[in-house]
Amino acid sequence: MREIKKEAIIETVKKLFLEANISLPTDIQKALDAAYQSEDNPNAQEMLSLIIENYKLAVEKQVPICQDTGMAVVFVEWGSEVCLIGTSLEEAINEGVRQAYTEGYFRKSVVSDPLRRKNTGDNTPAVIHTKIVAGDKVKITVAPKGFGSENMGALKMFNPTVPVNEIEDFIVSVVSKASANPCPPIVVGVGIGGTMEKAALLAKEALLRDIAKEHPDPFWAEKEKAFLQAINLTGVGAQGVGGRITALACHIEVYPTHIAGLPVAVNLNCHASRHQEAYL
């Protein structure tokens, strides 16, 4: 058994959240720069130029890109030959979140109860998704999730015989209805298959993929292209002011499903599509 001390997890989670909230991944930077070049609506162009100026300024001043530093979503792939020493995985991750959000001067946006709404004061707890995998490595991916975009997600349980254009219409309608609220240009994550909760998780995982990478299966890569085109025909545009670029990408993740069903979940990310990962 390989041993990992709790401090290593705490430090890694802390470092990843500090970085994720301040530095936009380069794939997203490139996509925003390209969107600015291809946009021809002057109001949307102005919005994109402010968005680009902002992500540069955040790094220069070492402050968050966006004041909504999000709820802390953490994906862990834990090698079954690794033993954690000193605490539980959940405790270690939450300690890393606590330190990052305090030391980084990030906004604490988490309330302890959905109805009684008292702020927890340190942005914990995180939302943690753990997968046990083979081997002696640990992979941690962090994705701070702002709620302007999170609020605009949707899920629908389709009939298994539904034509694919109805799925496309559903995805496009989610984006259309969301309009400016999720801070377009957005990234659209789609989860198809599994069960209700599996589809929602797939949609979130779809947001973690490098923006320029298409689905490895050509069938789904083609669907991603078609859906993105339909999304950009809505004319929502950057910040909802109109234009050609509503989404930077549409990523789909799929899973086997039941003979009677076809779950489809849509999770939107704002233009500050933040995620960072590390291996231990």
Binding site: L57, C66, G242
Partner: protein
């Protein structure tokens, strides 16, 4: 871009689709502050004032404000006609408003402008003073008084009720 000085500057002749640079004094208020103002009374003289739907990150030492971009305005829609009736003149936020708010903006000759969403660092740079003036216990969601300088904003609903979001 035309400079507007708040709260004194005339906003009734601003036209939908026009970019302006906002200067002067504005107040922040989000969900919980709106709920309280409606339930418990308004803790500031609202006549002619501007409300910005935002809650900042804490400021780092040596900085005036942490990142402070707009939040989704629609969540404040239910409370907005009440505030407009009580003298609110300018609203700053992100995204479309309800038909009821659009009507109320027309009725009270107010204006709604959008600030670029997700650009908190850039907007913080335009904040020259920041102080909490009410609901301290709400932390980031408290009502803050801000002094701003040349904050870019796009007129999204003008005093005639015309909206940039209506296609």
């Amino acid at each position: 871009m035309k400079r507007i000085f708040l709260p004194k500057g005339d906003v009734t002749d601003l036209v939908v689709g026009e970019w302006v640079l906002l200067n002067g004094t504005i107040y922040t208020a989000r969900d919980q502050a709106h709920k309280r103002m409606v339930e418990e009374g308004i803790p500031l003289a609202l006549e002619g004032q501007a409300i910005y739907y935002a809650g900042p990150c804490p400021a780092k030492p040596g900085q005036v404000s942490g990142p402070i971009g707009p939040t989704t305005s629609m969540r404040m829609d239910a409370f907005t006609p009440f505030l407009l009736k009580n003298g609110l003149k300018v609203m700053l936020g992100k995204g479309d408003r309800s038909p009821a708010v659009r009507e109320a903006i027309k009725e009270y000759q107010a204006v709604y402008l959008v600030i670029v969403g997700g650009a908190g660092a850039l907007i913080a740079d335009k904040v020259k003073k920041l102080a909490v003036i009410a609901y301290d216990d709400l932390r980031s969601e408290a009502i803050h008084c801000l002094e701003i300088e040349d904050l870019p904003a796009l007129v999204a609903i003008d005093s005639k009720g015309r909206s940039i979001f209506q296609k």
